[in-house]
Symmetry: C2
Subunit: 256 residues, 2 copies
């Protein structure tokens, strides 16, 4: 319940609040999230847990009873079919909630797995509902989080069905960078802590296709690989990436 002082990792870009605000158009989403976390912490008895890459927050089939909020780090949601097919269906960052899929059935429907060091706040769903009676704003936050989750998944569906492989990868990078920017973190150089296999699974394509798509994006100067480690990617112009996703493979300006 205590030990609040630690749980910070200055070396981990995900965990710390921004030191300098970026120069992108920055909505006050970071404040929204901070206020949300503050309110939850103040009104719901919660348990903080520091997690490391690979740690499981919950697993499909477990009894539901608790919800979770990402305070730091990031997490993947994996949905599995009875025949063994697995699919990463969501990536959750600071301020996102985990576990909604368990409410209806009383059992979690997916696995939630940490992709990096981070901190998870967990609390009983029942306790949350009780707290909502005293503090109705809390209910609004809950509904907002669920609504956001629904919209986000619909956007995934749209991207998966309507975009080419290259555009899907570009959209993925754009989404990632935007998620950082919205939280007040710098978005011009992101460090995916996912293997190509995980990216491919998330985007519904193979490792090779992901690799090729990244190479092509790099050739088009839409991204740049950091010197060391091809998991660190620079995005010179976020809007160019977005334009590529939308306008198709031909930005018309700097093509051939």
């Amino acid at each position: 319940m205590l030990t609040a002082t630690e749980a910070r990792h200055p070396t981990r870009p995900m965990a710390t609040p921004p030191a300098a605000l970026p120069h992108f158009e920055v909505p006050n989403e970071a404040q929204r999230i901070a206020a949300m976390l503050e309110l939850v912490a103040a009104t719901v008895p919660l348990q903080r847990r520091v997690v490391h890459a690979g740690d499981t927050i919950y697993q499909a089939g477990e009894d539901f009873g608790r919800l979770h909020i990402v305070n730091a780090g990031f997490f993947k949601i994996v949905n599995s079919a009875s025949d063994g097919r697995e699919q990463v269906v969501g990536l959750q960052f600071r301020g996102d909630w985990l576990g909604f899929d368990g409410i209806a059935t009383g059992r979690y429907g997916c696995d939630a797995i940490a992709m990096d060091t981070g901190e998870i706040w967990s609390f009983s769903y029942e306790a949350l509902l009780r707290a909502c009676l005293a503090q109705p704003r809390l209910l609004g936050l809950l509904h907002e989080a669920m609504s956001r989750e629904i919209s986000r998944e619909r956007d995934s569906l749209l991207s998966l069905c309507t975009l080419s492989a290259d555009a899907r990868v570009a959209d993925f990078l754009h989404y990632w960078a935007e998620s950082l920017a919205r939280r007040g973190l710098r978005a011009d150089q992101i460090s995916l802590r996912m293997s190509r296999a995980e990216i491919g699974n998330y985007l519904g394509m193979t490792i090779e296709s992901v690799s090729r798509a990244l190479s092509r994006l790099s050739a088009k100067r839409l991204i740049r690989f950091a010197e060391k480690g091809r998991r660190d990617i620079e995005i010179p112009e976020l809007s160019a990436l977005a334009a590529f996703v939308h306008g198709g493979p031909a930005p018309a300006s700097l093509l051939q």
Copy 2:
């Protein structure tokens, strides 16, 4: 509640409550939905609206303020990107809720369109929340509906990413039939009131591929076309369809 003799060809399979319970494994989901509708109708001031194919319930960008429940008919949810890409991201049947995507932003994020004659119950989100104070069970229903929606979309993601075109179509038919069965309607002959184009869009494939997939499923005896009208489909064995989805294209028993 009886009148068991009809229910053969109600001409409108979606609209009417079940007359005879089917012989499939039938959970009491029909009762769950009926009880839900009853409770909502008793506690929330709602507006009933009869709609016809093509009618719009709400559109992306409109101010959010109301939620909707399908009492009869069925509806598609269409998500659109700024560049014009459109994607059917959900199909909603009796008992399903519409409009959750508007809660977070205050504006609907998708279009909801009737695919057939039906009836929609609409009510103010604020009024619902007020009613929840008096009747906490209502809040449980709301959360359950949102949770279900999230799970459903994750399953769509899984199917889209991991299944071949034929399996996707089979899965779609299976989902449709199961949706009917769960509501106490007969599931062995379904009448899709969607064009091939709409099915294709929903499944992320072209009209031609849908057509071919249906032909192949028919050749495999997993489905059969009704004499007149290739939108009416018989499913001799629902479990065989499910087995095809999972076990891949080779059911091993009646192949070759």
